[in-house]
Each structure stands twice: as structure tokens, then as C-alpha cells.
């Protein structure tokens, strides 16, 4: 897999009134699956919307797939190679799944009906909705609607896939299918995937960016993110009140992050642990990279 970035952000800022959503962000994304982690309000969605040409940046330079998306021609070029799934996609609930994806395909300039319908059936088949494609979207469950959203983003095998929380509303089995799908369908493409599911990041992403308060706090591999919590993750029978973070696991033991509680067992850190360590740093700390 090539590591030459296809997307770069240099000093990108974006504000909404007095709120600074992105604060002089520098980031680069290469082909492959790139994860965006961060708490609510960190700026993930804003970054994705800027890259999907929904919003213009207030400051900074952008390069998306070799073009400047701040120009009209650049935006058009990006949009022709883009598949986008918003955080809260809106659907025409009276449309059938087929009709809605078909409508998006038309907006993506697939004017020939036969070719377009074949593609629509293909992408709906990828998300296993071909048997219900003629049902109205309003009659589908939340998870199935999310799959419709994923399907429309895959039309034409775009070079850039921007997916904002694509697995929200999917059950564990469906998340597994989503990972499989992304692995096959998005090969060669640059995928930006924002999620709260750290195990999705661990399983899918070769690169992860952690955003906190509009700033990049980490750029690197998931393993590197997990390594931030090396030597700081403990399992104990009881909760230690001095721990930075502690929670009860499914086995009934208490997982701690921070100084070792008495009688605790050191365990291998996960991506989630690394993220939690990072999120626990002061906002003005320098970004960490692997």
C-alpha cells in the first residue's frame, strides 16, 4: 500500500461563531483506511465535512486527491471521486431504498439508466439489502437505513470515501460485515472513517488520527496509540480510587489506567486504553506521534 498522502491539511482552521472547531490542524492521509478518533465536539465531523467539500475552511491549505477543493473546478473534481456518508444522513423516507440510491447515483452523473441500475443493485447487494430494495426507507430499521447510507457512498467505487460514524446503529455482526466490505470494496481508495468504536479502528485502520478540542493529538498506527498506555493498564479485583480511570469489565474485574493499584495485574494495553490515556492529557499538551 502506497504511503504517499492523497489528502493533506496544513494549518486548517474552522470556527462557528465563537467556537473553534478546528485549530490549525496539520494532517495527511494516504490510501488505505484512516481512522479519526475523538470525543464529541473534537472536530472530527467538521474535518470530514471540509474534506467532503460540504464546508469551506476558514484558514489553511488543503490538497484532496491532487486538487485544491477551495476552487470551483477543484470541488467538482473531488465530488466526482467522492463517496460520502454524513454523520446523520437524511433520507427521503417515501423513496424505496433502490429509488434513493438511484437518485444519488443520478446526482453522481450516472445518467445511463441501465448502467446506473446495475450499479445500484450491486451496491445494495454489497450491504445485503437487495431483497428489500423496493421497500420504502421509512419502513426500514435504523440499521438497515445506515446500510442504505453506506451503499450510496460506494457507488462507482470512489477514490475517496468519507464516512462519518458509519457503524452507528449496526449490531456487532453487521459491524463485522462492514469491516469485510471496506476491506474489499475500498482497496486502493483513501478512506476517512470517524468512529467512537476503538475496536473498529484497531481492526480496520492502518493510520489513526486523534482529535481533541480541534487539535490533532496523535497521528500514527493503532498499535502506536495503544503503546501510549504501555505499562499503565492494570486489572484488579477492586476499584482503586487513585486511578485516572477505572471501570468494571465483563469478567467482573476492574480495569485501571494510571498508577498500579494494590494487587493489580499489568495487562497489554488496547487502542482504547491508549486513546483514554491521550484524552486524559491537558488540552495544551504537544501532539504525540508514534
Amino acid at each position: 500500500m502506497t504511503t504517499t498522502p492523497t489528502i493533506s491539511l496544513v494549518g486548517v482552521s474552522k470556527g462557528f461563531g465563537s467556537t473553534i472547531a478546528l485549530d490549525h490542524v496539520d494532517a495527511a492521509f494516504a490510501p488505505g483506511i484512516n481512522g479519526l478518533l475523538g470525543p464529541n465536539g473534537a472536530g472530527k465531523t467538521t474535518m470530514l465535512r471540509i474534506l467532503a467539500t460540504v464546508l469551506p475552511a476558514d484558514q489553511g491549505r488543503l490538497d484532496v486527491l491532487g486538487v485544491d477543493p477551495t476552487t470551483g473546478d477543484g470541488r467538482l473534481s473531488v465530488r466526482r471521486r467522492l463517496g460520502y456518508l454524513p454523520q446523520e444522513p437524511g433520507f427521503h423516507r417515501q423513496f424505496s431504498a433502490f429509488d434513493f440510491v438511484d437518485y444519488v447515483a443520478i446526482l453522481k452523473e450516472w445518467a445511463d439508466r441501465k448502467t446506473r441500475h446495475d450499479e445500484v443493485r450491486r451496491v445494495l447487494g454489497l450491504v445485503d439489502l437487495d431483497s428489500v430494495m423496493h421497500k420504502r426507507i421509512g419502513q426500514l430499521s435504523g440499521g438497515m437505513r445506515r446500510r442504505v447510507g453506506i451503499a450510496q457512498a460506494l457507488i462507482g467505487r470512489p477514490d475517496l470515501l468519507v464516512l462519518d460514524e458509519p457503524t452507528a446503529g449496526l449490531d456487532p455482526e453487521q459491524r463485522l460485515r462492514f469491516r469485510e466490505l471496506l476491506g474489499t470494496e475500498a482497496s486502493g481508495a483513501t478512506v476517512l472513517l470517524s468512529t467512537h468504536q476503538t475496536d473498529d479502528v484497531a481492526a480496520l485502520c492502518h493510520n489513526v488520527v486523534v482529535l481533541l478540542s480541534g487539535q490533532v493529538r496523535y497521528t500514527g498506527t493503532p498499535a502506536g496509540l495503544a503503546a501510549l498506555a504501555e505499562g499503565r493498564v492494570w486489572l484488579a479485583a477492586d476499584r482503586d480510587l487513585r486511578a485516572e480511570l477505572a471501570w468494571i469489565t465483563g469478567e467482573g474485574r476492574v480495569r485501571h489506567i494510571g498508577d498500579p493499584p494494590a494487587g493489580a495485574q499489568l495487562v497489554e494495553p488496547t487502542v482504547e486504553d491508549g486513546y483514554l490515556v491521550l484524552a486524559g492529557h491537558q488540552a495544551h499538551a504537544a501532539p504525540l506521534a508514534s
Binding site: 467522492l82 437518485y103 446495475d118 420504502r136 419502513q139
Partner: protein
Amino acid sequence: MMILVILVPALVVGVLRLISYNRSGPAEPVGPGVLARAAPMLLGMAAVGVFFFVMLGAESTSRIPVLGLVLALAFAAAISFRARHRSTVAERSWSAPASASRPAERPTPASSWSVSRALGRVESRQLFQSPWFGVGLGFCVLLTVMFGVLFASDNGSTWDGYVQLAPWLAHPLVGMSVLAAHRAVTRARRDHADELFDTCPTDATTRTVGFLLSAVTPVLILAVYLSLLFSINVVRSPHLYGPLSADNLADVLAAVALGAGGITLGVALGRWVRFALAPAVALAVVLGVALRLNSIGDPGWNPWAALSTAPAVPDPAPIFIDRAAWWHLAWVVALTCVVGALALARHRRDGKVVGFGLAAAALAVISIVGTTGSPADPELIASRVTDPGAHQRCSAAGGSVRVCVYRQYGEVLERLIDQVGPVARALPPTVGPITLRQRFNGQLGDLQPAVRRPIGTDLPGGLKDEVTLGFDIFAMDDAGFDVAFAALGLPTEPDRRRIPTVVAGQARGVIALWLAARGMTPDEARALATSPDPGSPDAFERGTPDDDPCHTPSVVWSAQDLHAARAVIGLPAAEVAQVVISGWDRWKDPASGTDELLAALGLPGVGPFDQVEPRPAGTC
């Protein structure tokens, strides 16, 4: 009729269910498919049916078939909605695909026009799922049923005058198209899909063109609907008469063009105005302006009516008015284009759009000048008013009676001859010549100024032995009465104050009824001499057989005269004719009483006679 009204929609629903079953396959429960999609439209149509049912009134016999239609539509809508709700889909797992799929080669970006056309097709289909559009379709169906079936035999105008109603008949669907188009354009915003759509390469202008192209749907529907309605009228409206002119083609084209106008207005409002009630407000404004334009300068000629989206049909017969129908069509097309340019200008204001808008505006201005300009041949029209004989065909009806109608309406000549012939032949040979002649049926001010100038300040009156015929076919059914009244020296019109002549107790009144009954069936003849309200406490109402509350008769009898007339009508015609003809001059005299006539015929007297006070009638 009732069976058809219920069976046909049931068949339609059944076919729709079959189509949706076949589409979803035998392994699937019957999905909503086409059936469920039709639910909003069927509901809209049923709502219109309810409206018509309520408007018809409790006494109307037409309520029953309309009720049947409403029940059928409501039944179909209920099945359709049930199909929608029953088909709620249970969560389905996401299985791995059986094999890898090969994506299609990503096509080269299509032209904007191709994309717009594809969007236009989608939006055209979506119109049929709009309840608003369904209401408009419901109106089309109901108007066809009413004007083409239920009340077809009540259409008694000229064909030219009837087809001028085309824009009025189109307005319900046009109005609903505004609402439906506005809903379509604002759909992305309401459903929060605009963020996703804005990241697609198709720009907003191309999408606007797509919405505008959905105008094909109401245009086609209006063309079919009006063609169907008028075709049905050809078969079921025996009383419509007269030729169609090239102007009528312009009337129909203008009505059809309004369909496009409705869509463009809805699209423009959806693009520019973020107010959900904007289309309703716009419709109210357009309707208000249309009605106001129709009433400028009332009564009298109104050149501005042609600028209304539904021009008022002029009172005088069509041969006296040059309506500038083609300029009206140009006006409608120009307005549609101006509004369409406005819709496009929301996101694009380059030379093409601005140029198109300016050209449309220029056409609109030219159309205003054209519609308000002078008629092409005012002298010809003036001549039809001042010298009708030069433009008419005449035919002898029998005896000394002849009938003259304008050449354009020659087909009613035979009908008139059939009606007045038996009356004419029953008159004594001493009766002087009587001419029933069509004349201009309005006021001088109803004519266009250029036509008024050659005529002068007064309309010419008819000659002494002439009876004026109008242009309403049902009024022509009274031609027999007109001949009888004229022969007996009775007026054929009420006086200037709209007060009829009272002939209570006069023999000539009974003879007029007997004459008018010549050529009728016994039932028709009896009805001719029967008051629709014989039990009324009002002697005036008991003494008039006219059942039209909006019509002022020229003559009123007493209830006793009507009774006497029915007795005379029941006698052998030859017997009555001998008495009538031999004593003609006597019976013409107002001093000769009804009882005298009855005595001469060997019938008992019917006096004393009601005191009937003359008063204006026809007050509706």
C-alpha cells in the same frame, strides 16, 4: 353506473396488487410497491370526492354516483395504506455476499442535460406519490364525471364558448401542481438530505432543471384530461353546438401550458422562499389577481381579462368577440418562462439564464400589448351586429314563419325548424310574416371599442315582425312559445323592468300554450302547461310553468288558465284548430276571456281567475 363506479377502481386496485406481487416475487409477502405508493394520491382523490359530495347538496340526484366514486376511492386508499403499514420490514441480518461483485466501469461524467433529464423522470414519477397532486387528479376525475357524465345534457352553450372554459377546468390540477412541486424542491431540506446531495457533482442549477422537467407530467395529464372530457362531451352533450375555431386550440394549449406554469411556480418558490406556506400564499395571490383581472371594467368589455390565468368567458356569443386567444397563450408561455428563469437564477445568473429571462419578459410585454389591442377585423364584427341578415342562413319553418341563424351556427337551424314547424303550421294563414332571428345578445359596452365605433351609440333593434333568438340552446327550446306569442301579439321578452305580461283569464294566453304544445308528446305538452309549484300560496308562482328560478318569463298566466290549457291540449287537435283558426281575431283580443274559449270548445269554465300581480322574476 353505480356498478361501474365501484367496479372500475376495485379492478384498478386489484391490478396494482398483482403488479406489486409479481414485482416482489412469490417468496416475499406482498410488498407495498406500486400499490402503497399510490396511497397518498388515492387519498387526495378521495378527499376531492368528499368535497364534491358535500357541495352537491342534499337534494341532488348526482350525489349517489359521486358517493359511489368516493367510497371506491376511499376503499382503494384504505387498502393502499394498509399495504404500506403491513409491510414494515423486520430487521434483516447482513450476510456476506456470495461472490465478489465487479463494479461497472465508472462512466465519464454525463452532461448536465442528461442528468437533468434523468432527474426529471424521477421527479415526474414522484409527483404521482404526492397527495397534493392526487387532489389535483381527483379534481380532474370528478370534473370529467360531472361535466362529461352527470351534467353532460345540461351543457347548452356553443362549442366555442364551452372550450373557452379549458383554463378554468385546468386550474385545480395546476394549483395542486404548485404545491406538489414546492414539496419536491424542499424535500431535501426537510429530510436533511441536502448535505449529502451537495457533495455530489451535480450542481443545484442542474437539479432545478430536473424539477422543471417534471412539468411534462401535468402537461400530459391536462392534455389527456381535456381531450377526454371534450371527447366525452361530443358523445354525451347533444346540446352543444357551433363550430370550433382556431382560437379554441389556443384555449386548450393555454390550459395545458398552465400545467407547466404550476410546476415552475412551485419550483421557483421552493428555491427562493424558505416559508412552508409560500405556495398556498402564492396560489391565493394568483387566484386573487386572476379574478380581479376578470372583473376590471365590469360590466362591459374587459381587455385585461385575457391576462388572467383563467380568462372570463365573454357574455356575448363568440362571433362578436375577437378574444386574442393566441396572445393569451403567448402570455401564459411567457409567464411560465419568466418564472422558470427566476427558479434557475437562484443558483446561476450567467448570460444564458439572464438572457432567457429577459427574452421571456419581452414576450410577456409583447403579449400584454397583443391581448389588449384591437381585433383583427372590427368592421366584420360590427356588421354582424348591425346587419345580421347579411351573415345568416334562413329557412322557412312553415306558414309565414322563417328562422334565421348565423352561418356559423347553421346546425341549430334544423333543430329550430323541428320545434317551431308544428306551431307555424297550426297558425291561420292570415297571420303575418314572423322571423325568428339570432341577434347580438349583449350590451353595446360588451363589444370591443374598435367594434363599437362603426356601430355608433345605440344598438340597432329588430324589425317589427322579428323575434330575437339568443345563443343558449335551452332558451331556443322556447322558440315555439316565441312564435305563438308573436302571432298572438304577446311580448316575447319581459319589459325593461323585467316584469312579465299577465294574461290571467285571457283566451289568448291559453291559445299560446296550445300552440306551443304542437309537435310535443302528451307528457311534454302537459308539463308545458303545469306550474312546478301548483300548491304555492303565491298566485304568480302558481301561474307560471317556468321552473328556472334565474329566468324571467315574458308572460304569466293564472293557475286556472294553466288548468284550462291542459284541458284544451287534451282535446283532439283538429277540433281545437278549427275553433282557434275560425275565431283568430276574436281570441287575439285581450278582452276575450278563457271561459269564452272553453265554452266554444265545449269545456266547462274554470273561473274565477287568480289576481296575479305583475312583478320582476328571475331573481337569482
